[in-house]
Each structure stands twice: as C-alpha cells, then as structure tokens.
C-alpha cells in the first residue's frame, strides 16, 4: 500500500513539474542580481553581475532580448556606475547589461586576447584610452564617428575638447565614449596647511613637518604624504607626474617621454634623476607599507584623516565629502601638481634655473606640468559584435555618459568618474547637492580646470604597446629603485634600454610618427 502511495505521489509530482514547465512564463517583476567569481591561475579574475530585465512593457522594447557584455576593471570604481546604470537602461530599452571585471593589471591583455582569439565575449570594453592604438590597428574596435554625430542624448560638444580628442579619437576617427576625466592633482588638509606647496621642495618640507604627528586626534602617529607606490598597480604614473615639470617646459607639444627628433627616451638625464630622488624621499614620508599601497589604500588613509597631503586623480575630492567614510569633510583642498624652479636643459642634460626662455609658462617662477595621466576611463565597442548589439552598446555608453547621468555620477566618490564635461565644471549645483561646500567645489573644480587649461599640460604616452613601455619597463624599474634594488643611474639606464629595445623591435620611425601624432591633439 505504501508503495502505491509513494508511486502515486511521484507521478503527481512529475506531472506537476511538467505542467509547470509547459505553462506560459509569468513576467518577471523582480530585478535579480547574480554575482559569480572565477579564479584563474589563483587570481580572482572575473565577477559577473547579471541584471535581469524588469517586467516587459506592453509594446516590445527597442533592444528586447539583446545582451551586452561589458568588461572593465575590478571596482568598485568604474564598475559600480556601469552596474548601477544597467537596470535603468534595461527598463528603458529592454537590453540586458552584464558587467565583467578583471584586476587592473590584467585588463589590457584580457580584452586584447579575447578579441585576437576571436572569442569576442565582450561587446563593450571600458578601458584606458592610451591602449586604443593596439586595438584599433588590429581592427578590433568599432568606428563610432557616425553614431556620435547622430546621437543627441550624448551631447558630444559638452565633453571637454581634450577628452574628445585624446580619450576618444584616433587618427581622426572616434572610437570611444569618454566616461571619466583624469588628471593628477595634489590634495592637502586645509586645517593643517594654509598655502599649498608650489614646488616639490616645499611639498617635501611640509611632508617632513607632518610625518609622525597625530593628524586626526586618534592618538596614533600619522603621515606627511600618502602615495600609491605598489608595483603592478596604478602607481607607475606618479613618477611621470614628478618628473614632468623638470622635463617639459615648452608646452604640451614638446612631450615628456621621448625626444621628438629621434625617439630617444627622456629618461637618462638630470631632470628624471631629480624626480627619482624626490620619489624616494616621499616613500619615506608616508605609511610604513607605502611601497605596497595602491590608490584605493591611500584614498582610504587620506579620507580617514591620516595624511596631511596626497597625490591622486580627481577621486579624493568627492570621496572626502562622503559622511559614511570621511573624517575630513570640508577640510580638503586641491591644487595643481607641484612644479620646479629648475628645469632640464635638453641640450646638456643638466638642470638650469627657470627664466623667461627656459620656462615660458612658469607661474611665479615655477614651471608646472600637470599630467593628464591615463586620460580617463572610456568605453569602446567590439567591431565583431552583432549589429544590433553594437547599436545597443553604443546607446548604453551614450546613456551612461549623457549629462543627466554623468553629472550626478562624477559627484559620487565611489564611481571613480571625475569631471570631463563642460557642464560639470560650470554647474556647481550638483556638487553642492552631493555634500561638497560651494567653496570646496570651486577649489576642487578650479584645480582640475587649472590643470586642463595649462598650456604646459603633459599628455600621457599613446603609442603602440605603451602598456609594455609603462606597465612593464617603467613600473618594474621604479619599483626596484624604491626597494633599493637599483640606484638612480641603474634605474634610468634600465628604463632607457628597455624602451629603446621595444622601440627598435616595433620600428623607430613608426613609433616616432605615432608619438608625434599623439602630441598634436587639440585641447
């Protein structure tokens, strides 16, 4: 009897399941989020957040059934707004947005390998626009020129001319949609420092003054300056920021990486040696484990009140206004990166004092060369994606970049998006709404504008395989220098030899042409 009941129950269960499977699916009413982490070679390489479409409206939506796979780096910065804006875009168009992330140091090869092997798992890559040459020459990125011209929501002309030209355009065609604007800046505590340092010597003097003092009232010794110096992270741009005012004096077109006559690296000279010396000194005026800190770590230290000064991209400004994490609200000033009163004479390789001729753009006798490090995260579209996916992908990038969204996102610290639109500089209301005082907003935006408008602004390196030049050769040598493995002379020689070897491998003339072309961008 028991067996009969059990069989009857089993049959009933199966029937119920079959009927349930055959039934018309009910519309989904809940947005579901799924997080998957893969571990490859011991490193967590991918987190996929899938956002299911909300209930369909009665009329089929424009991109119903289209899935867009986005690749960027492990956040929370950058990935956060891309994930947050996904469901909104889904509700609007029906397209599903999947955001996959990899560690920063893997991003370049991950996307390139995906495209080169024909795997084409990603429709959008949000990446460093410096790298776009390698992608474009191989034909992996979609030309967005016509789409950009046709799209009204994007308000292309509102994007700063520099970001339109450098972060988005390559050889006259638009390949990316800028989502972020990047400059290195100096941050300081206004309750401790009244006048921001104008030169690196002044910066060091202030850092020495505050190193070891309690700056946030917790009874612990704090730090004069906090800088990201970790290897294989986002640290290697800082040495260029320090060296730039010593090396570049005659305006943006002069360049700070190579001699534009013969593509010889501007490394083995007194200016770079001085920069290395400053960098090493700064490594001793910060947290004890500064050599193992990335920007995420130093930002946390600064906003928790442990650092008198810091060098960073634009992120600290909005992060410092977040009451949940910041103890320095309205105590943060931003300024253009420090400069120098002695600059490199390229003919002799020696340092000479600043005068009208040697430093035509000097401010109060100090040559500043603000570094547009990285160029700002930008979104590009895989040329091999299906046409309807490309359309949806472009609309998604345009949606995220449009003033209605981006003007809010740039005021939120965790987004990692920094101002890049003219309206973001002009309209201070949104900044005040985010918690920044009007004075702090003016100071912060003024510092970025000061860098952006500098006639001696330094453009980041954008030549084929610059990821190798900077991410491998420069990064390794500077890390070895900080660790004491190399002295300054050996460091400069190692970088110079490494860059020259790669230049010769790839062709000196073609690399020189690419470098000169990159310096000719409009600002």
């Amino acid at each position: 009897m028991k067996q009969i009941i059990a069989k009857a129950f089993a049959v009933a269960t199966v029937l119920t399941l079959v009927l349930a499977a055959c039934a018309t699916p009910t519309p989904q009413t809940v947005i579901q989020t799924q997080v998957v982490t893969q571990v490859v070679a011991g490193t967590p390489v991918e987190t996929i957040i899938e956002v299911t479409a909300p209930p369909a409206t009665e009329a089929p939506q424009q991109y119903e059934g289209v899935t867009i796979n986005v690749l960027t780096f492990t956040g929370p910065q950058i990935a956060e707004p891309l994930q947050r804006r996904g469901p909104e875009f889904t509700a609007r168009t029906g397209a599903t947005i999947n955001v996959a992330t990899v560690p920063f140091s893997d991003l370049y090869q991950k996307a390139l390998t995906d495209f080169a092997t024909g795997t084409n798992s990603y429709d959008i890559i949000v990446f460093d626009p410096q790298w776009m040459g390698d992608y474009i020459s191989a034909g992996y990125l979609e030309d967005l020129t016509d789409r950009v011209n046709a799209n009204k929501e994007l308000e292309w002309e509102d994007i700063g001319p520099f970001f339109r030209d450098f972060s988005a355009t390559y050889e006259g065609k638009v390949y990316t949609v800028p989502l972020d604007g990047d400059f290195h800046m100096m941050y300081y505590r206004t309750d401790l420092i009244k006048t921001p340092p104008a030169t690196w010597d002044e910066y060091i003097a202030l850092a020495k003054e505050f190193q070891g003092k309690d700056l946030n009232g917790d009874g612990k010794e704090d730090f004069g300056t906090c800088m990201a110096m970790k290897r294989a992270a986002q640290s290697y741009w800082f040495i260029t920021s320090i060296a730039a005012p010593f090396i570049q004096t005659q305006g943006t077109g002069e360049g700070a990486f190579f001699d534009t006559s013969n593509m010889q690296p501007l490394i083995n000279n007194a200016g770079f040696a001085k920069a290395l010396d400053i960098y090493k000194t700064l490594s001793t005026l910060g947290p004890p484990d500064q050599l193992n800190l990335d920007v995420g770590d130093t930002r946390g230290l600064f906003t928790s009140g442990r650092c008198a000064m810091s060098l960073d991209w634009g992120d600290i400004g909005p992060l410092a206004t977040d009451p949940a994490t910041s103890t320095v609200i309205d105590k943060v000033g931003a300024a253009i990166m420090p400069g120098t009163k002695e600059v490199l004479d390229r003919a002799t390789g020696k340092l000479v004092p600043c005068d009208d001729k040697t430093c035509p753009y000097a401010i109060d006798g100090v040559n500043h060369a603000p570094f547009a490090a990285f160029g700002g995260w930008s979104g590009a579209i895989n040329a091999a994606s299906k046409p309807e996916v490309k359309d949806a992908a472009f609309d998604y990038l345009a949606y995220v970049s449009a003033p209605a969204q981006s003007n809010v996102d740039v005021t939120i610290g965790k987004t990692g998006f920094n101002p890049y639109r003219l309206s973001q500089f002009l309209n201070r209301e949104q900044w005040v709404k985010s918690g920044m005082s009007a004075a702090a907003a003016s100071n912060y935006l003024g510092a970025i504008e000061g860098s952006l408008n500098s006639p001696n602004m330094v453009l980041d390196l954008r030549i084929p395989q610059n990821a190798y030049y900077q991410g491998t050769v420069l990064d390794t040598a500077v890390a070895q220098f900080l660790a004491g493995e190399l002295d300054a002379a050996a460091t400069m020689k190692q970088i110079e030899d490494g860059w020259n070897q790669k230049t010769d491998e790839l062709g000196r003339d073609s690399q020189l042409a690419a470098y000169k072309a990159s310096l000719g961008v409009k600002k």
Binding site: G42, Y108, A138, N292, A483, Q494, Q501
Partner: protein
C-alpha cells in the same frame, strides 16, 4: 583476448584447414592492433591537451607578437627571447645581479663541488660505471655547480637574486619546513591522544582553501597598521614597520603562507604512511629496550622513506609553480624581491609579450625537469632502496 576460431558459418570452399587459418590470421592481426586502437583515444587526448600546446608554446617562445592591420602576427626571432633572459636586458631580473660571494657563499659552493667530486669518483670506481653514465653525470654536475655558483654570487651582500634563485629559495625552504612540520604533526596524530580526530581535520583545512584566499588572509594578518593583529604589533612596537618594504621579510611572508597551506599535504600522506607501518618491529624494539627516539630513527623513519621520497618529488614539482601568494601579497615587490618564475612569466604576459613569457615558462620547464629527473634518478632511488 580470445584466440579461439569458430568453424560455424558458410561452408569452407577449399581445404578444411585453410579458412580457419585465414580467420585466425585476421584475428591475430586484429589482436595486434587492438591494443593500439584502444589506447588511441587516450593518446589523442594527451597529444591534443599536452603535447600540442607544449610544441606550440615552444614555437611561440621563438617569436614576437605584434599587432598589425587586421589582427596580429608572430614574427620568428630565433632565440632572442631566451637571450634576453640569459645575457640581455632581462638578465638581472631573471638570473639576478652577480657579485663576489661572501665567505659563507664560497664555503657552500666549495662543499657542493667537493660533494660532486666525491659522487663522480664513486661512480667511476663503482661496478656500474659506463661512459654514457659518466657523460650524464658530468652534465648534471656541471649544471648543479652552475646553480650553486649562481646562488652564491647572487645571494652575496652586494648581489641580488633573480627570479630563478627566488623560486629555488621558495621551493627548497618550503619543502624542508613543510616536510619536518608535516612529519611532526603526523607523528603526534598517530599517538593515542585525546581529540586526535579533531586535529586531523583541523590540520587539513589550510589545504582546502584556495591559494588566493590564503594570500589575502596572510595579507590581512600581516598588516601591522590595521587588521586583527594590530594590538599585538602595536604592543611589540612594530605597528610603524612593514614587512612589505624589506626583501627578506616579504619573502618570509610569502614562504610562511606557502608553508601554512601545504604542510597539511605532507601531513596527510605521512600520517597514512605511519599508520600503515607494521607494529611488530616496533614491539620487538620495545622488548629489546629501545627508547622512543631510537625507534623513530631506526624503524619509523626508514619505513616511511619510500613514501617520503615520492611525496617530496610531487610537492617539489608543484612548488615550482608558486604564483598566487607573491602576486596577491606583494605583486612581486618590493622591487622584484618576491617574484617567482611563474609570476615573472605572468608579468611579461600581461602586456602580451607572449614570446618573452613563453621563454620564461620554458626556462622553468627546463629547471623543473632537470631537478625532478636528477632527484628521481639519484636521491629517490637511494631513499627507496634504503
């Protein structure tokens, strides 16, 4: 396999013996190829998954990747990628910076040379002498001497070890400590002590954690300015110091993490070996008045040597692949102090210099193969025979 011959079926047309013998021949032929046919799928899988990638990566190590219009191209560059590592721009990174050895370095190098000389002399005088054996031993001796010389010169005060020597330090320090600790724990867990079942499970836990998890765990634990051990570091006056800025303390952090994770592997295998030992010999020794140390040294240890030798070989090959810990803990820093060979290859590969990366990987393969084969031929044979 059956070789019987059936006589049923169509009537033979010729002689009664001819047809069965033909069938027998066919069957014999089928039998002879059956082995190959059955093993073919496995061979194909091995070829496809192991040999083919090996050959392709060898080719890749002789090329340079470049992105060109319409895709990428691999340009054949001969041994350039290897030359870069051994005599070129990456030599200091790969082999290290050479300097005059310290007295201890000279001493160690001298001891290695003397040991090799004695080893060769014994072989020449011994009953198994052959010219082929002498040549292979001379080659091995030369490579070992070169390795000892490399270690002595790069570990000197003015020198700096490259990724080869750093990897060797990780492998051999890790092996010794893991084996000793694993053996101690196994001996403890064999004793009839309360809670031994619980400890058996607990001791195994580290092995169950993914290496990247272990790396993050140790990064947090070793953080002197925050983290769970901050009060301890602060009490010791170490809260303003960092292990990550000194080459040897950073390497020590990596090795501690590796030892913590892999000691359980040694432990579990040695525990099984200890538990499978027969008790008669030990009981006899007890009756003869042997103490615990004598029993361990004269009976237990020789008894588990065959297992130990295999265990060490497996762990050694695995240990050469260390990457997660230095990658997460320090990204290979400070400088290149904690960078292993696999991390070296990975660092180059990240910027898609896949030729250079494959060359480092092949150098690692040569080293692992040489160390593994030498160990298997000499030490493991002796240990197993002991």
């Amino acid at each position: 396999m059956s070789t019987s011959v059936t006589t049923q079926g169509p009537t033979p047309t010729g002689s009664g013996l001819e047809a069965p013998s033909r069938i027998a021949r066919i069957q014999a032929r089928l039998d002879s190829v059956a082995g190959s046919a059955f093993i073919m799928p496995a061979v194909l899988v091995v070829l496809l998954l192991s040999i083919f990638p090996l050959i392709v990566s060898l080719y890749v190590s002789l090329t340079r990747l470049q992105f060109v219009k319409g895709g990428f191209q691999l340009t054949f560059v001969g041994l350039d990628n290897y030359a870069k590592l051994v005599v070129g721009i990456d030599k200091d990174h790969f082999l290290g910076v050479f300097s005059n050895p310290a007295p201890i370095g000279w001493l160690l190098f001298g001891l290695v040379v003397v040991w090799l000389a004695v080893w060769l002399a014994r072989f020449v005088r011994g009953p198994n002498f052959s010219i082929g054996g002498l040549v292979s031993r001379l080659f091995s001796g030369l490579v070992i001497s070169a390795g000892a010389w490399l270690i002595a010169r790069t570990l000197s005060p003015e020198g700096r070890p490259g990724t080869v020597v750093v990897t060797l330090i990780y492998v051999f320090t890790g092996l010794v400590v893991q084996y000793v600790l694993g053996l101690c724990l196994a001996v403890l867990c064999v004793q009839q002590i309360p809670g031994r079942r619980f400890f058996r499970v607990v001791f195994l836990l580290p092995m169950m954690i993914t290496p990247v998890g272990v790396a993050y765990l140790f990064r947090m634990l070793a953080d002197t300015s925050k983290g769970p051990f901050y009060p301890v570091w602060d009490m010791l006056g170490l809260s303003n110091t960092s292990w990550a800025t000194n080459a040897w303390s950073a390497r020590a952090a990596v090795m501690i993490g590796d030892i913590w994770q892999w000691t359980p592997f040694m432990f579990i295998v040695l525990l099984a070996a200890l538990e499978s030992q027969s008790v008669e010999a030990i009981e006899a020794a007890v009756v003869d008045g042997a103490n615990r140390w004598q029993i361990f040294w004269a009976i237990t240890l020789p008894g588990i040597l065959p297992v130990s030798s295999t265990l060490i070989l497996i762990r050694m090959i695995e240990a050469f692949k260390i990457m997660d810990l230095p990658n997460i803990l320090t990204n290979g820093g400070p400088g290149t102090a904690t960078e292993s060979l696999t991390l070296h290859a990975y660092t180059i590969w990240r910027t898609l210099d896949i030729g250079g990366s494959a060359a480092v990987a092949y150098m690692l393969l040569f080293i692992v193969t040489f160390v593994g084969v030498s160990y298997a031929n000499e030490i493991r044979r002796r240990l197993s025979e002991a």
